[in-house]
Symmetry: C2
Subunit: 355 residues, 2 copies
């Protein structure tokens, strides 16, 4: 086991631990399939991929498409290493979100109709959108926390089109979207006009400071930051700059798919020590993404499961809710030099020597 | 509104914000009752109590037992201040826990039988135990995360008797309980003996260092720390000292009932900056406590709802899961001078001038 863990670290450069890799294997055992294991492995995609490759090289598993099947040697090795399948008990009613959409089913239907011709995801801006159920669930989570009814909402990046779901709910006073992709800005403004919603989108690169008119103007923000510590801090700090003051709320997702536990701690340190906000909620696997068409072209493809289109919605993230406090740090500086999209834990990062 | 917020702060000494108090009132509006509002108010008990007292003094609400009912003036004041009821949408199937007990119903029955003569809670050690469903849900959460099957589990303080539920599940290799209350130590050891469980309890004051034999010996710990930043860091750090190394997991609950958002940030800073662990999960209202017999004797009683026995299980907490990393700080120093039970956000803290 120690040898396998060392190899995974050497090949990926991502911090891993023995219990962490044991959990990855336990998730593969309980799900029996590469993509379905991702939400429970709680490790970066490249760690899962490399672990599976290492298991395969040692003759412990074989593949049928994306299925990962144990050999007899594999079975013995697991017993020796005291690794057992996870016992998955996610609530079927809410998919683990902890909230139900019962009171919002009309909103869900209206939202689905409104976004039927949405712009497709493109790789340029690290896009990929959550299911429509997830978007409505985000509205529900805000409604349960008193963060949307009668409130002013700021959305930083919105390929999920949450602004439209929020507008259609009739709850917020006003929704402003700042978004870099012109196609999405236009789509939101057009849909808002057609439906008479209090929603306006503007084109904005979030590396630039927030325009003055949006400083201190909102009760709640929502964003989905790219997953480098610098980008996360930058996006959250733009959100905070938009808020009216202490006691306001921010929502955003963070994945295990592209961020190790060590990187998560860096994120959390920036939140609670640098920005001085409090994390009030973290809902595991709350955000469920639709699969996107460019996936297999952009990831490593050295084992069969990675050449097989996923049949499940495997890309998920934990929804964080934060609150601002008296001591929260407010700033609005330009950050034009920050590399915001890719580090070596990113999905699209390939091992040295490939390509 | 500003005036009311200032009064709540003056009377309680607990940091509050305008949006925070608005959320407290929104929870009262959606639940219509003092105790039922607690799990959704996300504020300390004394903040909720003082807010209700201030609303009552201004003629905005009146009481029928623990019911808090809006007057006409109150209704107008809310409209003026843009405060609306929370839209509570907690999943009914899992009570918001995100996991289901379906595969563990036999365990739940066995656990209930085993603990039927458990020692009653006493005030001396800040006791109060969670429902048996909650205890089993903790086992399920560990099982889903690969933290219990075949593992060695350390329980620091166990009036919940989780050690017995864990033992009865047949999943862990070994369970050790360190507990200050001799009654509980004896009860656990007796039940473990009768049922042939791999569970042993020892009497231990956690302000003392862990005995050498328990250092670096466990895969997972669980505790329910008293809610001062010092006590939380102390208990978690004892748990960490018991773990085998990086990648191990710890579980514990933190309430809003006795800890403001500002105190939560202090907790989180100690976790991610001092101890250098990562928070992987935070499940809101996961832990649901049974009501206990000494409640009304120990809290403020200046408004009618506080003289009325709660009919709902109102005391809840967020379940945190943390993981250790390469960089996690391990220590096992004595901490005999630390005041571990009470600060001014505690349930039993009474306003100056009372009593």
């Amino acid at each position: 086991m120690k040898e396998l863990v060392r190899k995974v670290y050497e090949e990926t450069g991502i911090p891993v631990t023995e219990p962490g890799i044991a959990r990855v294997i336990a998730a593969l055992l309980s799900e029996g399939e590469f993509w379905a294991a991702m939400p429970y492995a709680k490790a970066p995609f490249n760690v899962l991929a490399e672990t599976v490759r290492q298991l395969h090289e040692r003759g412990y598993v074989y593949f049928v498409g994306s299925k990962v099947i144990l050999t007899e040697e594999g079975d013995q090795w697991l017993a020796k290493n005291n690794i057992h399948p996870l016992i998955i008990s996610t609530c079927k009613a809410c998919e683990g979100k902890g909230i139900e959409l019962t009171r919002f089913l009309d909103l869900l239907s209206a939202f689905k109709l409104t976004v039927v011709n949405r712009p497709p995801s493109i790789v340029d801006f690290d896009q990929g959108y959550v299911t429509e159920e997830t978007t409505v669930a985000r509205v529900v989570m805000m409604a349960q926390n008193g963060d949307i009814h009668g409130k002013d909402l700021l959305v930083l990046g919105d390929d999920d089109l949450l602004s439209l779901a929020a507008g259609l709910s009739g709850l917020p006073n006003r929704v402003v979207v700042l978004e870099i992709d012109e196609r999405i800005v236009d789509f939101i403004n057009e849909a808002a006009r057609k439906n008479g919603l209090p929603v306006t989108a503007y084109r904005q690169d979030l590396r630039e400071p927030l325009p003055d008119e949006f400083l201190g103007a909102f009760d709640t923000f929502l964003t989905d930051p790219p997953e480098t510590p610098e980008a996360l801090e930058l996006f959250i700090s733009r959100g905070i700059a938009g808020l009216k003051g202490p006691g306001c709320a921010g929502y955003f997702g963070v994945t295990n798919v592209e961020s190790s536990k060590a990187k998560w701690r860096k994120f959390q340190k920036r939140l609670v020590s640098n920005l001085k906000v409090v994390i009030t909620d973290m809902v595991t696997n709350f955000n469920i993404y639709e699969n996107w068409n460019y996936l297999l072209d952009t990831i490593r493809n050295d084992i069969e499961p990675l050449r097989t289109e996923p049949q499940v919605r495997w890309y998920r993230s934990t929804q964080y809710r934060i609150e601002t406090l008296e001591e929260t740090v407010v700033s609005n500086e330009p950050a034009t030099g920050v590399e915001i999209y890719v580090d070596n834990e990113a999905l699209v990062y390939t091992r040295k020597g490939e390509e």
